[in-house]
């Protein structure tokens, strides 16, 4: 036995395993902020990476453009057909917006969960180990980004901010597995049905919308949007479309499979979204 402990390398290995477990435990607990050395290292690496990223993006962009050119004719035809519908929709939206504003003024209700401030950001990297789908973007605390803010692309919601450092932040995609990652959402219809987005089915490539009442009637193709009731996300961000509805394992509630509107794999630019209502409250607190 004493010989066993005299082996220096073995002791070193044991000590490093203990440190490893301690570090993993430390980084897994629900951290609100990163420690300052982490922030510093991260910003330094992200700065260098953004330099490398640009030429790489150019090269990749060239091949993408060539690919796009091949489909131009087909696409043009389809788009022209859609354009006419779009004009109609546009006028309708305009009049509805105006009406909404007038009604709000009548009620004297100025702020809404829908309003948000957008922070544009560029994706400069992705987690290469691919267990947790994460993006690295080039905006951070200095630009007003905070933990847990919603992240969208023009097509829809993609994820939320997982951690921030002064000049960069990590975005966790909706497809990442995280039990803490819950989003309050609703299915749009005559009567809105509310539930929680909990988890992602990698095989069917669908988000799971759970806690739907068993008697709610939901059809394929209905839109799923954020409800804004979770406290951080604004209302009305597009998540996706209903793919399938199944009863859950106990039959008390239903699970809706939601096909995400945004593409999780081809993301170049994102918009980080901050609710206006929170901003107003912050200002009031400062006073």
């Amino acid at each position: 036995m004493p010989q066993f402990f005299l082996n220096k390398r073995l002791i070193l290995l044991l000590v490093s395993i203990i440190i490893l477990v301690a570090l993993i435990g430390f980084s897994l607990k629900d951290r609100q902020h990163l420690t300052w050395p982490e922030k510093f290292v991260k910003d330094a690496v992200v700065f260098v990476q953004s330099l490398v990223h640009q030429p790489a993006q150019l090269v990749a962009g060239f091949f993408e453009n060539v690919n796009d050119l091949r489909n131009t004719y087909e696409e043009n035809k389809r788009l022209k057909a859609r354009l006419e519908k779009y004009v109609l929709l546009e006028t309708e939206v305009q009049s509805l917006k105006k009406e909404n504003e007038q009604l709000r003024e009548l009620l004297d209700k100025k702020e809404s969960l829908r309003d948000f401030v957008a922070i544009q950001a560029t994706v400069i990297g992705r987690n290469p180990d691919r267990w947790q789908e994460m993006l690295i973007v080039n905006k951070g605390e200095q630009h007003g980004v905070k933990k847990d803010m919603a992240v969208i692309t023009p097509r829809g919601l993609v994820g939320k901010v997982r951690s921030v450092s002064p000049f960069s932040s990590n975005v966790q995609l909706l497809s990442a597995l995280d039990r803490k990652n819950r989003i309050s959402a609703f299915v749009q219809g005559k009567e809105n049905v509310f539930g929680l987005i909990e988890g992602y089915d990698a095989e069917r490539e669908a988000l799971l919308l759970k806690r739907i009442p068993y008697d709610a009637k939901i059809k394929k193709g209905q839109n799923v949007l954020t409800s804004g009731l979770g406290g951080i996300f604004p209302k009305g961000l597009v998540i996706g479309k209903v793919m399938d509805v199944v009863p859950d394992e106990y039959g008390l509630t239903q699970i809706v499979y939601v096909k995400p509107a945004a593409n999780f794999y081809d993301i170049d630019d994102v918009i980080i979204v901050k609710r206006k209502i929170d901003e107003l409250q912050e200002e009031e607190e400062k006073r």
Binding site: S16, I17, I19, L20, L23, I24, F26, S27, L28, E38, V41, K42, V45, V46, V48, Q49, V52, H53, A56, Q57, A60, V123, I124, G125, R126, N127, P128, D129, R130, W131, Q132, M134, L135, I136, R162, S163, N170, L177, R179, A202, Y265, D266
Partner: protein, 171 residues
């Protein structure tokens, strides 16, 4: 300038992994998860052709960077990259030093690291992937692509590293 060749190379490979996944993460890579482990391959080569201490040092340093910047679970890669460098140095006592054994060891290291990280993710609750899915969708494509890449790059990489070692010894 030549003095900084090795640190520069390792840094570039480290950054390129992330950029690579971001730019080439299209549909094709979705059903087959290809995980870039270029850094690991370079680390194994450095350990063999430059030296054990260099390998372990770079392994620890860049493993820790990997943890902080990309995965946000501290210690996982810093630990395994150092261990891999150490084990590679031990294994080289049995093998002859040439680019084929180096490639073989690099591929073994990839398999080893993939299993280790899968184990950690299972314990931590970061994944629900089944073992067969892990083998078929993740491990085999990764090893397959790396085999091709390593066969292409093993010889030039070895020459460059040997040159650099010779240069360092002179000065």
């Amino acid at each position: 300038m030549k003095k900084f060749f090795l640190p520069f190379l390792v840094t570039m490979v480290f950054l390129f992994e992330s950029v690579f996944v971001e730019l080439f993460s299209e549909k094709w890579f979705q059903s087959y998860l290809f995980v870039p482990r270029f850094l690991l391959v370079v680390l194994v080569f450095v350990t063999i052709f430059v030296g054990q201490t260099d390998g372990m040092m770079y392994g620890f340093l860049f493993g820790f960077l990997y943890d902080i910047v990309y995965t946000e679970i501290l210690g996982v890669y810093a630990f395994i990259f150092t261990i891999v460098a150490y084990l590679t140095a031990k294994a080289m006592k049995i093998f002859h030093t040439n680019s084929f054994t180096a490639s073989f060891l690099a591929l073994t290291a990839i398999v080893f690291v993939e299993f280790y990280v899968y184990g950690i993710q299972l314990i931590v609750g970061g994944t629900t992937m089944t073992f067969s899915a892990f083998l078929n969708d993740r491990l085999f494509p990764t090893v397959f692509v790396h085999t091709i890449l390593v066969l292409l790059f093993a010889y030039p990489l070895k020459q460059k590293l040997l040159q650099w070692t010779a240069y360092r010894r002179e000065n």
